[in-house]
Structures are given as structure tokens and as C-alpha cells.
């Protein structure tokens, strides 16, 4: 048998699985781009200094104490009720400013729940009260 030397030994990498690799990488990126969890409650803090004197009747005061109990204009309320009450107050006074005040030991989740309720009531003027 004639020994035939191949003139050039071309080493060929089988490219049939390139598409598979591409699919895998694609899936990876598809998954990682959607993992960025950055949603939250939007707010604008009140500017420092030059506190405008707002008419007391145009403010709804929300106080949250350390135990998570809430006072709305000196009346105790349950957190899930806040949305409807604020909605009612807004209907009477569209320019109402809702002011939220917390104790130093109030739970952050309680503050967020209250803020959530106020935002669900579609209040546009929300303020964080000056701490003592």
C-alpha cells in the first residue's frame, strides 16, 4: 500500500457545537440582565432650611411610634386603612401635604408600609417631618 503523506495536516475543530455554546452564553446573559432588582418607593426629601410655613389645615400628620402604631391627625389608625383615609382627605383638600414622622426606634418596614399606603392614595405632596 502506498503510504500517502498528507501534504498538510489540517486540524479541524468540529464547529458543530458552536451554536450550543452560543445558546448557553445567550441564556446566561438573558438571565443575568434581569436580575438587577432596583425598584422602590420614590420620594423627594424636603430641602434643608427655609422651612415654608404651611397652613396647618393643609397638613395631614402621620406619626409612627416604636411599636408600629400609627396616629393620623391624632386618631389611631390601622396601616391598611391609611390609603382610603388619605384618599378621602385628598378629595376634600387636593393641596394636602402628608407629613410622616417616626420615632428613632420605629421599624423601617413600618415606615415603608405607611409610605406605601400614602403613595397608593396617590398623594403628591409627601414630606418627611423634621426630626426632633
Amino acid at each position: 500500500m502506498l503510504l500517502e503523506k498528507r501534504r498538510d495536516r489540517t486540524a479541524e475543530i468540529p464547529t458543530a457545537s458552536m451554536a450550543d455554546i452560543a445558546f448557553l452564553l445567550l441564556t446566561f446573559f438573558l438571565v443575568t440582565t434581569s436580575l438587577d432588582m432596583d425598584k422602590g418607593l420614590q420620594l423627594r426629601l424636603p430641602a434643608k432650611g427655609g422651612e415654608k410655613e404651611v397652613n396647618k389645615s393643609l397638613i395631614a400628620n402621620l406619626w409612627i411610634n416604636a411599636a408600629g402604631r400609627v396616629l393620623l391627625d391624632d386618631e389611631e389608625v390601622e396601616i391598611p386603612m391609611i390609603k382610603d383615609i388619605i384618599k378621602m382627605k385628598l378629595a376634600q383638600r387636593p393641596l394636602l401635604t402628608v407629613s410622616i414622622k417616626t420615632d428613632r426606634n420605629t421599624n423601617y418596614q413600618d415606615f415603608i408600609s405607611v409610605l406605601d399606603q400614602v403613595q397608593m392614595a396617590e398623594a403628591t405632596r409627601i414630606s418627611i417631618a423634621e426630626p426632633e
Binding site: L26, D38, Q42, L45, P46, A47, S113, L115, D116
Partner: protein, 119 residues
């Protein structure tokens, strides 16, 4: 077919921006009216753990006073700086209130309280 896949892949490789920081271990609070952050390039991420540890873009803050200086500098570089506050749901409000006061001093007012969707 693999060409289309490669094109898509290229697009995602370019569009994916990996986060530059790790942040502190946090259990986020839950809320319903959460909105997405706009203009991510203007966002500074502030983390606050339940124990009161605070970090700004992965830089641990030892004195609360530092917050206003750091944020003021950021605001000078970018007037549209806003804050994404990621605090643990069990954190006491004193941690949050102090951060808020520092932000007001630095005149960085837009803030987004990061939360998971839920009740």
C-alpha cells in the same frame, strides 16, 4: 440560525452592565407602589443594615457626618445625583433618619427606598 443567536448574544453582552459593588447583606422591606429607577448612571447606592452599618457604593461609613461630605462631592460632580436606599426591613428608623438628614444637608433630595414587591 447561529448568526441570529450570535447577534443577540452580542447585544446582551454590550447591554449588560455588571454591578461594581456588593453592598451589605440586607433583607429588603416590601411595598406595592414600587417604581423602577430611572437614569441609573445618576444613582448612588446606599446600604444600611439592621445593625446600623452604612455603606455608600461599597465604601463603609464610620461616621454619619461623612455621608454629607461624600454626597455633596457627588452632587457637585453630578447635579442629578439621586440615592437608592437599600435598608434592612428591621433597621430602626434612627439609622434611616440620620441618613435622610445627611442627604438634606448635602442637598441630595431625590431618594428611592428600595423594596420588594409585596404586602
Amino acid at each position: 440560525m447561529p448568526d441570529i443567536v450570535f447577534m443577540l448574544l452580542l447585544f446582551f453582552m454590550v447591554a449588560t452592565v455588571f454591578r461594581q459593588y456588593q453592598g451589605l447583606p440586607i433583607e429588603l422591606p416590601t411595598a406595592k407602589k414600587i417604581v423602577k429607577l430611572e437614569a441609573k448612571k445618576n444613582v448612588t447606592h446606599i446600604y444600611a443594615s439592621a445593625a446600623g452599618e452604612i455603606s455608600i457604593d461599597d465604601r463603609i461609613i464610620n461616621r454619619n457626618r461623612d455621608i454629607r461630605n461624600i454626597m455633596y462631592k457627588k452632587r457637585v460632580e453630578n447635579p442629578r445625583t439621586m440615592v437608592s436606599l437599600k435598608a434592612d426591613r428591621g433597621a430602626p428608623m434612627k439609622v434611616i433618619t440620620d441618613i435622610q438628614q445627611e442627604l438634606r444637608e448635602a442637598d441630595v433630595l431625590p431618594i428611592n427606598y428600595t423594596a420588594k414587591f409585596g404586602d
